[in-house]
């Protein structure tokens, strides 16, 4: 421990060290409002208010724009006027995560230790291992944290626990780990109560709003796939006796929205447990409605009706199944079990359905 401290300091003269900046930032980082001096160098002070730029940035990544490159420099940051006894909160370098955290820290004096999670949020990064024991241990030593604070306690987000071995961190650095609440909005309450989290603070929720903010990315991903589908429809129309029209487009788009948005929103309300099943059920309801509305059950177009009833609900099922990755309660074992049944059925049903729809278009 002692050795790494000495190595992380470039020079022995105190004047040199105090001028050093512990965490680099750029002039574009408007959320940095100043610097605070520490024995190891200067630490950027961050604002606890979000600007329009931050809010637009959050909105963009929710729609999948630049989502994989929305990050800040890892290192130590300050909120308010922290001193050697101020608490240290640990988080990830996804800018969205950082904003959600600092927004809740108004009026507090504390340190934020940001780990390099490659711009991924705490929970996912913990699952991947980048929000992990090794990175935390290395970041403590790189920032010289043990000389900046006099206490030996770190507050970690509870959802980081799947990447961190608390006793291992203590063994390697001397810092003890306290897991804070799941949600940043509970941090003030947690700190005020002497680092005690209530059961409520410790429980992951998955409200309709939580689910809603996750659906645009699913929709954008499905839109890319849809361009291919529209290409096939367009090519078919060159030879088709019954060209695809607006009604077909609506039937298809409805199935996509059902799988990517409606199924996630209605998740706990749809009977059953498997996500693919829930998506299939809602997709079937949609398809029955749209087929009936267009009169496709009539004798002349029954092939089209059957085709759509095979392909559209399985499309919704597939898209809903993909929401398992966004959900907060699906286990890997469960997902694998669900997929072993669902994926072959989805594949067979959608291939058969596509063939029927194409046949009915081409020969009418």
């Amino acid at each position: 421990m002692k050795m790494s401290d000495e190595m992380s300091c470039c020079c022995s003269a105190s004047s040199c060290c105090s001028a050093k900046l512990i965490t680099p930032y750029s002039n574009n980082d408007v959320w940095v409002t100043g610097e605070v001096r520490t024995p190891k160098g200067n630490v950027p002070v961050v604002s606890t208010g979000l600007r329009l730029q931050d809010i637009l940035g959050a909105w963009k990544v929710r729609w999948g724009i630049g989502r994989m490159n929305y990050k800040i420099s890892p290192g130590l940051y300050a909120v308010g006027k922290p001193g050697p006894t101020s608490p240290v909160l640990v988080s990830a370098n996804y800018k969205l995560t950082f904003d959600v955290l600092r927004k809740e820290l108004s009026g507090l004096d504390c340190w934020i230790l940001i780990l390099d999670t490659k711009g991924i949020n705490v929970w996912c990064a913990a699952g991947k291992g980048t929000f992990g024991t090794d990175e935390l241990v290395a970041r403590i030593s790189k920032t010289g944290l043990s000389e900046i604070v006099s206490h030996r306690k770190l507050v970690l987000p509870q959802l980081g626990a799947s990447g961190i071995s608390a006793h291992e961190v203590t063994r390697q650095t001397g810092f003890s780990v306290v897991y804070g609440p799941v949600r940043a909005k509970d941090i003030k309450g947690f700190l005020a109560s002497g680092l005690k989290a209530t059961e409520e603070m410790r429980t992951v929720r998955f409200s309709m709003w939580d689910r809603l903010v996750l659906t645009p990315v699913e929709l954008v991903a499905a839109a890319r796939f849809s361009l291919m589908v529209f290409g096939v429809m367009f090519l078919t129309n060159l030879f088709a006796a019954r060209p695809f029209g607006l009604a077909d487009f609506i039937a298809y788009a409805g199935a996509v929205v059902t799988g990517t948005t409606i199924a996630p929103l209605l998740l706990p309300l749809v009977p059953g447990r498997a996500f693919a099943w829930k998506g299939w059920l809602l997709g079937l309801l949609w398809t029955l409605a749209v087929v009936a509305y267009n009169g496709w059950f009539a004798a002349g177009s029954s092939l089209l009706a059957i085709g759509y009833l095979l392909v559209l609900p399985s499309l919704s099922a597939y898209l809903a199944m993909n929401f398992t990755g966004s959900s907060t309660y699906t286990s890997l074992s469960g997902v694998i079990k669900e997929m072993r049944t669902a994926v072959p059925l989805i594949a067979l049903s959608s291939i058969a359905g596509t063939v029927l729809v194409l046949i009915s278009s081409l020969r009418a």
């Binding site: 989502r67 509870q158 990447g163 410790r202 990315v217 991903a221 498997a274 993909n322 990755g325 074992s333």
Partner: protein, 97 residues
């Protein structure tokens, strides 16, 4: 709102013999699967477990085993095609995480 995923699939195991009653598992579990009873941890509801692995990783007595992973269909699908272990890079734009 209570969520329920598939039943009887979870790989979580707790050894009561090894448990030293520190309570870390109950602290870290995001779905409150554990509770403390007479200085020992106990599993209240296995089916709520999402196999995140936080309990096992933070158990200083190695009393908990779980096949940890992320329940992400897109990642599993990719691993089937590439015949590799699921990679949760979340860059698949399929919305995991």
């Amino acid at each position: 709102m209570k969520y329920g995923y598939l039943r009887n699939v979870v790989t979580l195991h707790l050894s009561a013999e090894r448990c030293i009653g520190c309570g870390r598992c109950a602290e870290v579990c995001p779905h409150r699967v554990f509770s403390m009873n007479e200085e020992k941890a106990q599993v209240d509801d296995r089916d709520r477990c999402m196999e995140c692995g936080a309990c096992a990783k933070n158990c200083p007595a190695n009393a908990i085993t779980v096949k940890a992973g992320v329940g992400c269909a897109a990642a599993v699908m990719k691993s089937w095609f590439t015949r590799s272990k699921p990679d949760y890079d979340c860059s698949c734009a399929e919305g995991c995480c």
